[in-house]
Symmetry: C2
């Protein structure tokens, strides 16, 4: 497949690179899900997930893509014929709209526009207008790199007597979303981003108010029904209502241990430095960010590609010639932006590698770029922050 | 964890053992789901799944437990307030009842009883009585080892103008269910049984009549909506509507190649010989099968444990002292039966190992068993069938 002289580098915001220790654990023989050896892993994951969600709530686990956990929020909280407010600013926010429509809710859509943040004041206005009692929004919008102010949005929702469910699939573990401190009712996440595992596990941290609301409107859900999974996970020992993806849990157990060993605050610091370095590299290349300059936007850095070149060729050249896989733009942004991830198992030299390849691909696409200018700007950030800023091994 | 002098043997009907080649493939660095290297794997899996389902239909893939694919069948086929017929004979059949109730269908439940087969004549009577236009049933009922005559049940359903959806989670790839030849409308399966992969992928082979019926009743589904996944998988190149569990697909690709290399008929033959040997071992131990003597029941062999011993102690001793994990009875059968699996990556000496440990555990539980009597009976079957009957390497 790959040219043996070109190493492969995965720099997308999901799937993200897997630490070798996680891969090694997953290569061990499969465990029976009711055997003590697995139950131990499972119970430990349930506890450690609470630490990452910064919550005392149950963190419900599903064998699913991250969208499955989003669906669980809609299936348990939205009601046919009743208003639901979606506050979106990109592709994944719009998925909330599709989900709510599929479940028959009357959707009030606050569309902040791709590349913008959702404004709390606007949410307040739309909540009053619609009378919605549940809000669906996004922490880190992967399609644009924008990170919303979930604390403020939660406050606004609660002031209006509404619950809030937040898609933190790409954000959880990269940027802070302390669920209990901010009183976020529902936080959904996936295994394949900052949790450093392959895709296939989806999570929902669910508070009591959300569980109560769900219990008041049963039906039209089974696999994603929170009650069923809560009951199983609260058993002693905990028991999944459906065959769990045992291999992914074995990997998750190792990844969560690594996060615990690095320290959650240190993990956030690392992402902050990685994000800062990426933004410095963009400036060093005299290019523009797509979206606002934001000290919290530390999951994905979206870069406006220079006009007059074939934008789609840049990620393609990076991947096919240099072995560095980044993401281009999705939907309306196709060919217009490049998205460089730094979410999960990423270190300083992943950023320099990515920008080195990015510069080379820009040059090949005919853009007059000074080779090393972006890399150098990133290096300066890393030195200033004090190396080592390596990812845990 | 495990005593280093005791090797571990996984002899349950899911999760099942994983071939080393599958584990090795999954330990490779993660692929981006839109990268050519993954799309190649994905497209090949979609094609090879058709071979195992023996169908030209789309085989829809979900990141989920097998129950997720079952839910997809109910979410797409059942209608609130309309009758749905569930023909069950054990725990997993009863899951269809719970699912149909969750989706608001009027459930007509043909309960054949645990350990019995569903009788086609009885299905015919209940279909006429209920007027149901969709039937949910089970190929291999993992809780009892019973394998239903899906060909006959399909014929009866179609004669009554009803669609039929079959839970083949533990059966597909172990016992024949040629979807197109038998015209089974929907066949659902999972990755962790005869497909020799870890749990986390669920499949639904869906025929045109079922797709048409689903299209006529949209709503109340998103993640498991067939239309969305059909549209993605039919693109060129195919594209999953949600981030696919890339690592599991990489493993599945290897497992499906192994099945292709062994040959599907040879895979069925191997399971036939394994099942026959297991039943011979039971007779050799002068014990009784739970359920009918059946040449097709080649997924799980359920054995009535002798009276007067602590039944629950047998699987426990096998696992804790001998490192051999089998399943005991579920629900009402707890402590009453032992279930030995031979579904997936199983070879002749997995059966002799399991029965050797079973005999030793029976002796330890106080049952007067002739050591080697079960093993010997199995050996005779293997010799008569003509060794080698090894699983593919």
């Amino acid at each position: 497949m790959a040219n043996p002289f070109v190493k492969q580098y995965l720099m997308t915001a999901g799937p993200t690179p897997i630490p070798p220790a996680v891969s090694e654990a997953m290569a061990q023989p499969v465990l029976y899900h009711r055997a003590p050896a697995f139950i131990e892993v499972y119970a430990r994951c349930l506890e450690r997930l609470k630490t990452v969600f910064q919550t005392e709530n149950d963190v419900l686990c599903f064998a699913a893509s991250g969208s499955g956990a989003m669906e669980s929020a809609v299936a348990n909280l939205a009601r046919p014929g009743e208003p639901a407010l979606v506050a979106s600013c990109g592709k994944f926010g719009e998925r909330w709209v599709e989900l709510c429509e599929a479940y028959g809710a009357e959707v009030a859509h606050l569309d902040a526009g791709w590349g913008n943040r959702v404004e709390p004041g606007e949410l307040e206005r739309r909540l009053a207008e619609s009378g919605a009692k549940v809000v669906f929004t996004t922490l880190s919008e992967t399609s644009t790199g924008v990170v919303n102010d979930v604390q403020a949005l939660t406050q606004v929702a609660h002031d209006a007597g509404a619950l809030i469910a937040v898609d933190a699939v790409s954000g959880l573990g990269a940027v802070p979303i302390p669920q209990d401190e901010w009183q976020v009712d529902v936080v959904v996440a996936g295994s394949q981003k900052a949790l450093m595992c392959p895709p296939g596990l989806a999570f929902a941290g669910v508070g009591q108010a959300a569980l109560d609301h769900a219990a008041a409107g049963p039906g039209h859900r089974y696999y994603f029904d929170w009650r069923r999974t809560v009951e199983g996970q609260r058993k002693d020992p905990p028991d999944s209502p459906f065959t769990p993806a045992v291999t992914l849990f074995v990997g998750l157990d190792v990844a969560l241990r690594m996060i615990a060993e690095e320290g959650l605050d240190e993990v956030f610091d690392r992402h902050r430095i990685l994000g800062r370095a990426a933004r410095a590299a963009v400036r060093g290349l005299e290019l523009d960010l797509f979206g606002p300059e934001d000290e919290n936007a530390n999951v994905v850095t979206a870069i406006k590609l220079p006009e007059g070149i074939d934008g789609a060729a840049v990620p393609k050249t990076m991947r096919d010639r240099f072995g560095v896989t980044i993401a281009g733009g999705q939907g309306r942004l196709k060919g217009k932006i490049a998205r460089i991830a730094h979410c999960g198992y990423f270190s300083a030299f992943d950023i320099t590698t990515t920008f080195a390849a990015f510069e080379m691909a820009l040059r090949e696409a005919g853009h007059d770029v000074e080779l090393g200018a972006g890399v150098g700007a990133a290096q300066a950030v890393f030195l200033e922050a004090g190396v080592p800023v390596a990812a845990p091994v």
